[in-house]
């Protein structure tokens, strides 16, 4: 009973945390199956720990610790797969985003072990009805733990105007690139969309400064709205450039679905990557310099 409760809670946790969303990852159904299987193993590991200690069978416990090491491989596995896919992508995800995804996958398995461990402990101590409370609580808690912040939390996004100064494409006052062909310029003016992403504080400014974060924003946009980039036609590549004096970003995109309101909503939902998150305000000099 102890083990079943733990395994069930852990497996459910993994299932709920595994969402197939617009980022095209993990793939369905095989990517899902891999992760559910690993989740099941993780849940079993967590669930048998308490009975093993209670026995007491310390050899079994040692083996459990060894087995838990295997989950470090998940990060490598994810990183490798995504890096392979990156080579053929027209609009890349970026290394930072890949690292972020890989870490999340690893961390989720540890959460599953924890959920299974806690649920089985509760059953072991007080009986199975308590697992009905402890299990959902753990699942809720791990869901809360895994949700980071979003661009919408750290920045304000506003519509902006695309215009040309000679051959230079600008979004409001930010230079994007030099476009040579008059034909392309006209197309950009007619179909292009531009937004300004204004950071709310110094931490946000540093997060947006990271090229990896910008690539993540662009990748999410393109995977929902589409892009007019093709192989050997990279002139309409979406781009995000910084206003170097004021620190805000200007983003430019030619989408297949040109809907600027949804574009802004999508940017708000892009996760702030762990590896690029700015933390200057938590340092002494950062706070001093920030006024």
């Amino acid at each position: 009973m102890v083990i079943i409760a733990g395994v069930l809670a852990g497996f459910l946790d993994r299932w709920i945390l595994l969402r197939n969303d617009y980022r095209h990852y993990p793939t369905y159904p095989h990517g899902h199956l891999t992760h559910l299987a690993l989740g099941f193993i993780a849940a079993s590991l967590g669930a048998v720990a308490v009975p093993a200690i209670a026995e007491p069978d310390f050899v079994a416990v040692t083996f459990l610790v060894l087995a838990a090491q295997q989950f470090r491989e998940i990060r490598n596995m994810e990183r490798e797969t995504l890096n392979k896919l990156e080579e053929t992508k027209l609009v890349p995800r970026g290394q930072d985003y890949i690292e972020g995804i890989a870490r999340v996958f690893e961390a989720r398995n540890y959460l599953v072990i924890l959920t299974a461990l806690l649920s089985s402990t509760v059953v072991h101590l007080w009986g199975w009805p308590y697992a009905l409370i402890a299990g959902p609580l753990c699942i809720l808690f791990s869901g809360r733990l895994m949700s980071g912040s979003f661009i919408g939390d750290i920045a304000k996004i506003e519509k902006a105007e695309l215009h040309f100064e000679g051959a230079i494409l600008k979004v409001n006052d930010v230079v994007i690139m030099n476009v040579g062909l008059p034909m392309t310029r006209e197309k950009i003016l007619q179909e292009g969309m531009g937004v300004i992403i204004k950071p709310k504080d110094d931490n946000a400014r540093l997060s947006l400064h990271a090229p990896g974060q910008r690539l993540a924003i662009i990748h999410d946009l393109v995977s929902i709205l589409g892009t007019k980039v093709d192989i050997n036609e990279t002139e309409l590549m979406p781009m995000a450039r910084k206003q170097v004096d004021k620190g805000y970003l200007a983003l430019f995109l030619l989408a297949n679905e040109p809907d600027i309101d949804y574009l802004i909503e999508i940017i708000k939902k892009v996760p702030v990557l762990e590896t690029t998150r700015g933390t200057t305000l938590s340092s002494f000099f950062g706070r001093k310099a920030a006024d």
Binding site: E87, G166, A167, N178, V179, G180, L181, P182, M183, T184, I231, N232, E233, T234, E235, M237
Partner: protein, 64 residues
């Protein structure tokens, strides 16, 4: 693996040879604006590059 030449001028298209000097990449002489744009489009599509305008009548193609 993608092993192309990047961040390098791949071709120059001009109407005035006086404006271009030295070598390193092919230079195409166009008779008029229309021809210049046409050559630029062709070469950029074939090479997967982008046409840039120096605003003095010289176009060049670069891959990023």
């Amino acid at each position: 693996m993608d092993t192309g030449i990047k961040e390098y001028i791949l071709a120059i298209i001009t109407q005035d040879m006086e404006l271009v000097n030295g070598g390193g990449c092919p230079v195409f002489l166009a008779a008029n604006q229309e021809e210049q744009e046409k050559i630029a489009i062709y070469i950029s599509r074939i090479l997967g590059g982008i046409v840039h305008d120096l605003e003095n009548g010289v176009y060049f193609i670069c891959k990023h």
